[in-house]
């Protein structure tokens, strides 16, 4: 007998053993077994769907099991669902978008808040004090000499800036906000003009000038946009904006 034939004869005995074993261990499902399975599967699937959220949507859309005719219906339902989600998200954001508009603080005329426009008491004493006004003119007269003088080198300017740190000057990261630059430039311009005899009012004027003579603050036109985001550029910008605001003040 060949090896293959002997293998078959040997295997036949084992096969009979296996068939008898299967017959002996044939058992029926216990009572309520199907109910238990249905409950277990449904509970697991429900919690899994809740956990997955909308993750099932693409899988459901591209499922090869559903008939082709329902693909349009499924996509329509999916788009409706996404639109509803977008509406809910928009409804959550919309109250922020409908805030009452705030007037810009540099707008000329009566649109300024009352506590800023109604300040007669500081003005009247200033008229009585010519020295203070003269100091303003002195400061302005000193400006041309400062502006005519050759522009300091980059290192020189940095040195000056380091010696006289403005309260508004601060190191900035690489992602500076342009609008913040515009406001802070105005403030630092005022402090840059402040001479030895300058009063506090000078600084305020400088700050207003930094916003622009016509009352419009244009941060996008400020040099900080072109200077990039390096700290050196910002320091340069402080000095230059101070010069510009001083000229405006004149």
């Amino acid at each position: 007998m060949s090896r293959h034939g002997r293998e078959r004869v040997d295997a036949l005995d084992v096969e009979r053993e296996l068939v008898e074993y299967a017959a002996r261990t044939s058992t029926d499902a216990p009572t309520g077994f199907a109910d238990r399975l249905v409950a277990a599967v449904m509970a697991t699937e429900t919690s899994a769907r809740r956990r997955r959220g909308l993750a099932w949507l693409p899988r459901w859309l591209t499922s090869p099991l559903a008939p082709v005719g329902t693909i349009g219906l499924r996509f329509g339902a999916a788009i409706a669902l996404l639109l509803a989600s977008a509406l809910v998200a928009a409804a959550a954001v919309l109250p922020l978008a409908h805030r009452p508009p705030v007037d810009p603080p540099s707008t000329p005329g009566g649109s300024l808040p009352a506590f800023l426009t109604a300040s007669p008491t500081p003005v009247a004493p200033r008229l009585d004090r010519p020295a203070a006004t003269a100091s303003v003119h002195e400061t302005i007269d000193e400006r041309p000499s400062a502006s005519i003088s050759p522009r300091p080198t980059h290192a020189g300017r940095r040195h000056v800036t380091d010696e006289t740190p403005s309260p508004t000057s601060h190191p900035r990261g690489s992602s500076g906000d342009d609008e913040d630059d515009g406001h802070e430039d105005g403030g630092s311009g005022g402090s840059g003009n402040r001479g030895p005899g300058a009063s506090e009012d000078d600084g305020d004027h400088g700050g207003d000038d930094g916003d622009g003579p016509d009352g419009t603050n244009r941060p996008s036109a400020s040099p900080s946009d072109e200077e990039g985001s390096s700290g050196d550029g910002d320091e340069d910008h402080h000095d230059e904006s101070g010069d510009r605001s001083g000229q405006d003040g004149r």
């Binding site: 040997d10 053993e17 074993y21 002996r24 261990t25 399975l37 277990a40 499922s63």
Partner: protein, 176 residues
């Protein structure tokens, strides 16, 4: 309802379709698992895990092949894994030792069943899966070929070689 439509309904959350599938397949799955693990409760747990896992994986079912055969294959694999994990615990031997009033032939029969289960579980793959699908899950070679994606001749060859190895295993156990 064909298997493809049945699976699609279950994926869509149809409880009636799920019930239909469970009624149709749970008996066969339970029998196959009992023959692998040797315990009805453990086999019932395996069948439950099989249905849970299969329903979660149903969206990936492309309707190729019989859904019942697909389920049987999953159940058999899980049962073999459970059997391997519980191998250190001689549950059947403890049961036999505890039943003093049973007739001797029943005890011998249980011992023989235990031996067969051990010998099948000790087979290397792919012979073990083929033997279990053929004799425990009662699938014919054509169904095994469809369920496993194996050519029919390859299935027959593996079955024949698996039986030969099993015979050696059983003979060694008896001799021991």
């Amino acid at each position: 309802m064909d298997d493809r439509a049945l699976a699609a309904a279950i994926v869509a959350g149809d409880a009636v379709a799920l019930r239909h599938l469970i009624d149709r397949e749970s008996g066969r799955l339970l029998r196959a698992c009992v023959r692998v693990v040797g315990d009805v409760d453990a086999a019932a747990d395996v069948v439950q895990e099989t249905f849970i896992g299969a329903v979660a994986a149903l969206p990936g079912y492309r309707g190729e092949g019989d859904l019942g055969h697909w389920l049987v294959r999953i159940a058999v694999r899980r049962a073999l894994r459970t059997r391997r994990l519980d191998r250190g615990e001689p549950l059947e031997r403890l049961d036999v030792a505890g039943s003093d009033d049973e007739p001797d032939n029943d005890i011998l029969e249980r011992e023989r069943d235990h031996r067969i289960r051990d010998a099948v579980a000790a087979l290397p793959e792919p012979y073990r899966e083929m033997i279990v699908l053929r004799y425990f899950a009662e699938l014919d070679p054509l169904a095994i070929a469809s369920a496993t994606g194996t050519p029919l001749e390859t299935v027959r060859t593996r079955l024949r070689r698996g039986l030969a190895r099993l015979r050696l295993e059983l003979r060694d156990e008896v001799a021991a």
